[in-house]
Every structure is written in C-alpha cells, then in structure tokens.
Symmetry: C3
Subunit: 246 residues, 3 copies
Amino acid sequence: MKLSLAEPTYLKESISIISDLVSEARFKVTPDAIELVAMDPANVAMVVFKLLSSSFTEYNVQKEQNLAINLSNFKQILRRAKPEDILTLELEENKLKIQLKSNTTRTFSLPIIDLEEKEQKVPELKFPVNIKTTAALLNDTIEDVDIVAESVTFQTEPKKFIVLAEGDLSQAKIEVPEGEDTKITAGSDTVKSKYSIEYLKKMINASKLANEVTLQFDKDYPLKLEYTVVDKLQLAFILAPRVENE
Amino acid sequence: MKLSLAEPTYLKESISIISDLVSEARFKVTPDAIELVAMDPANVAMVVFKLLSSSFTEYNVQKEQNLAINLSNFKQILRRAKPEDILTLELEENKLKIQLKSNTTRTFSLPIIDLEEKEQKVPELKFPVNIKTTAALLNDTIEDVDIVAESVTFQTEPKKFIVLAEGDLSQAKIEVPEGEDTKITAGSDTVKSKYSIEYLKKMINASKLANEVTLQFDKDYPLKLEYTVVDKLQLAFILAPRVENE
Amino acid sequence: MKLSLAEPTYLKESISIISDLVSEARFKVTPDAIELVAMDPANVAMVVFKLLSSSFTEYNVQKEQNLAINLSNFKQILRRAKPEDILTLELEENKLKIQLKSNTTRTFSLPIIDLEEKEQKVPELKFPVNIKTTAALLNDTIEDVDIVAESVTFQTEPKKFIVLAEGDLSQAKIEVPEGEDTKITAGSDTVKSKYSIEYLKKMINASKLANEVTLQFDKDYPLKLEYTVVDKLQLAFILAPRVENE
C-alpha cells in the first residue's frame, strides 16, 4: 500500500476533527477509498469518514487493508504537514509510515494498534427532514445556543428551520427561513428533536472542509450531519437524540 | 419599550467593559437614553454609563423603566451580534428580549432580576486637575506601571502629567508633557494621588469606544475617567484613592 | 555608562530568549560590547551573548563594568519598548535605569543584584561537524521531533544532515540534504550525538534575531548553536549531550 497526497489539508483537518470524538480507530483502505466508521467512547456519536482515491496523486492499494491507529498521535504528525509538502502513507512492518516531502524528507512512523472493538456498521436511517444550508450558518447557530444551554432542539415548521435552547435562566431561538442558502425538505407536520450541544460543537468543525452541510433528523431520532467535498471526501456524523423523560 | 440599534458595537463593547467591574446592574431607560450607575462589589469603583437615544435607529420608550439584569449573561448574548445584525431590545413578561436580525432572526431572552441594592447616585465631585489625552497613551502608561507595582501615583507638575509606580524592587516613572495630544489644566501646586492599577486596567478597556479620555483627580481624592462619543454615549468611571497610612 | 539604542528589538528579543534559560545573570559592559556568559541552573546549557557597541547610537563606557540583574524583570521592562522608542541604559546608584523615549519619557529602574556565582568561561571546544542552515529549517525540525520524543539525535552522513527521534511509540527521521540553504562540513565518518529537545526549543527562539544558524557538534560531545547578526550581535548556546548508559 502506498498513497500520496499533494494537498495534505483534507486528511489533516479530517483527522483533527475526528480525533476530538474518537481517540483510536480502525481505517479500512480499499482500492477506492480510505474509510473509517467509529463510535465515540460514550456511544452517543458515530463518525463516518471516506477519503476517495481520486483525492490522491498516487493511490496504490492491491487488496483491502485494515489498520487501527491512535488518532491523537496521527493528528499531531499530520499537523506538521505544510501546504507545500507531499504526504505519503505506507505500511511497513506493522507501522504506518507517514512521509512529508519538500526540501527535506521527514518520515514519521506510528504503531499499528490492536483494536478489540468489532467493526462498526453504519445504521440504516430514514429521515423525513432534510435541510441543506451553509456550514457557517450552522456554526453560528450552535455557538448561539451554546451560551444558554447544554442541549438544543431542532424543529421544522413550513419553510422554516427553528433552533431552540432553554437554559435555567436564558433562552435562545433562531429562525432560519428557506432561502437562497437554505433548502428545507420536510413534511407538513412539525418535527422536533433534541441533541447535545457539546457533541455538535465538535462536529461543526467540519466547516473547515466544506462550505455546505446537510442536516437530517426526525422526532426523538438520531441526527445526521454531512459535509461533502465532491470527488474528494465525505465526513458525516450520526448523533443520538436526547429523549426527555417527561 | 422597543429599541433598535443598527450598529451593535457601542452597546456590545460597553457592556463587556462594565461587566468586568459589576456583575449585576439596573438600567434606567428614559425617553432620552439608557443609563446605568453602579458600584463594584468592593465599593471602590463606580461606573456611569449613558447610551443616548440618538444612537438608536428606533427608540420607543413611553415611560421611564428600570430593569436589572445579569451583565455577564447580557455580555455573552451581545457578543453574538455581528456587525451586520440589527439589534432590538424589548421587554416582554419580565424578560429582556434581545433580537439579532440579518438573514436569520435570533432571539435571546434574559430574566429581569430583583436587585435589592438601592439606586446609586453619582457623587458631586470637584477637581482642580483635568487632563485630556489619547486613550492609547493612558493605556500604555497603565501597562507600563503594571509591571512594577499594584498601585500608581498620578501627579501634576507645571505643564506635565507624571505617572509613578514603585514596587518592592523596580520603579517606573512616565512623564507626559503637555502637547498636541495632551492638554493639562491644573493649578500651580503639585497634586498627587494614588489609585489601584487592577481597577484602572479594567477601565482603560473603554479605549475600544473612544480615542480620547479625560482624567480628573485631586490629592487623596477620587479619580474620574471619562470616555465620550459625541451624540452617542458616555462611559465614565469614578475610582476611590488609595490613601496611605503613614 | 550611558548606552542608547534606536532599534530596541535586538536587545528586547535577546533578553526574552536568554531569560527562558537563565533567570539572573551578570552582564559585562566593555568599551566594545555588552557581554553575557551564563549557565542554566541545571548546568546543562550555556548562553553566550554579545551585543556590539556598533548596534548602539550612543555608546559611552569609560571602564569595564559588571552588573548582575534579574532577567525576567528586565525582559518585562524591555517588552514595553515600542519600535519608535529610543532606549537608553544608565547606571545610577546601584540601579539600572532604562529609559524609553518617544512622545513621553518612560523611565524604569531595576536593582543591581549580588550574584554569588563566579564568572563563567566559555569552554574551548573543537568540532568536526559544522552545519549552516536556515533558522526556519532548524525550527521545523525541532518541532517535528518534539511530537515523538524528549531527546533528539543529530547525525551526519556524506552530504546529509539527519535528525532522529524515537519515542515509546512513534519515530521521526528528518533528512536534510546539502543544498543552496544548507552547507555541511563533516568528515567521512558518521558522527552522531543526542540532545535534549526541551532545551533546543528554548534556543531556537533565536530565529527571531537571525535567518541563519550554525550547528556544531561531535559524538557524545556538546552542541553549539550560533545565531549572528553581522556587526550587531551574536547569540550562541552550548548544550551538553545526552550520553546513553548502554
């Protein structure tokens, strides 16, 4: 296996975001893509990451490989990549070799670890609500509600996406009308569900990768956030709802 | 009551500065202005703030209202205002409603609190010394003395403003001559008084609002710092002297 | 003694870097230069600093003087110097007077301290290896190895400078070929020696002063790092090797 990237940014930023949720994970390297599906330790959030072979300048994978590594260490190494570096990944004697090449040749090696965890499957989910908006708008919204509460309610009304949060003292309500930047697909019924702001704050860092985001959810049902760079990568998150015991 | 601001910056910065000194305070909303007079919990510093109705695009106040709120929470909400937002303040069912409107409509509500403290009156003070200088110069001076001591002596000499600080080890002395940027009105006698640097450091943040500052003081007497934006706002501080028991 | 600098940056940055290694030190002020030779408290690193009289606009030193001061306090004062300030150093009644002059005159005084430590001599060292490269490249290299280990091995191979680090888990290897930016003088034998990354991280801050750096070392022998600004200053560091007990 030998993979080269002329623009290390996508891999670098993706791993940095994922490592905020999952500290160790298994990559599946197929002839088509590098893939990762992982649950966070609290079993509340799932990350689904795919970096397509078309984003590499060299992509030489004979047969599918699984390799589990410590993502924090991987992130630290990737952070050393400068925009002008060519980044190469290779497997060598139970180590992942990461090479950064420009004037100098900098080679890091990281141990392949044993992950007891069995392979995660992405659950099949169906969503009546699909909202496509700018990543910047979602960021603002989450930062808004973060100052009043720990959980946030996403709600649809005809041609409107509503975000609500209620703290002990203060409340926040953001109304996002359908418009040029925001497309809302939803039935005529109001759909309403609650999610953890702490997790959302980690996920919205994916706005560094893509300008748009898709939100899908249902009443007391998981949320799916999806960031896509066409022909390059997909980074999606599935977040369990906060169901109230009332 | 309904008040709208097309430039949220003045309110935002003022509340941020005031909340460093006072955590809860009562605003008086009159047909002319929003006013606040508050003492810090240690009774060492007073804040006098006035945001004139002329700085609002809509200013609808039928009768004078008093409303006490938590300034830290208010600051956090105002910090979410972006330059392009129109900020509207309304009273609704014992809540202060703060609306930020651009593409989206973001509404925060903050509880009106009970403040036992009785209304503060601005003391009548007379000062023999009046120094008008740039806010940047005062900032530099306070940051200079901050590295050697905890209190600073302001002193006048003919056509000179002198700032002194003496720590256990080091000393600092800044001489500011009268000049284009600095106008000094003082009698022929030397006037000298000592103030807390910790408090001054919080007050000089008002340099974000205005380029000029007026200092007024007397021997072992309070200091008054005043920042003004003509037709818009006034932010003044009164600081008790540090009288030495020698 | 009276010394004036029109560009305080060199003195300011030098003292800031040195004070990370040594908290108190004795300066020798000769008719030619201000000099400092000091060991860090752990006796692992030596600093050799020389600021030539030619970098001063006024340099009035009748006879050689020794003056020991607290470098952290001196750093804090120098940090207050703005690029447009003229900085003057004078000795006055057992105090070092530091004056910063622009619109205002700001005078700080710092006590001369008693340093029991006897005068340090720069050891005479001979090095078979001399590498001249850009300060930026050395910075990158040290930051690279810092993520995997606490010590780093410098190694020469014909026309190559190799930097290695091995942590419990990860490894890093940087190969710097001879080239336009990097000149390597070394014998035909491989020379290899190990040094503390923590110390190197403090030393490479001298890249703020000079664009180039010279590295000299030998097997299990001290390393000398040298940053020079022609006709102005020299800042060198000598670092003891980490000899392995194997």
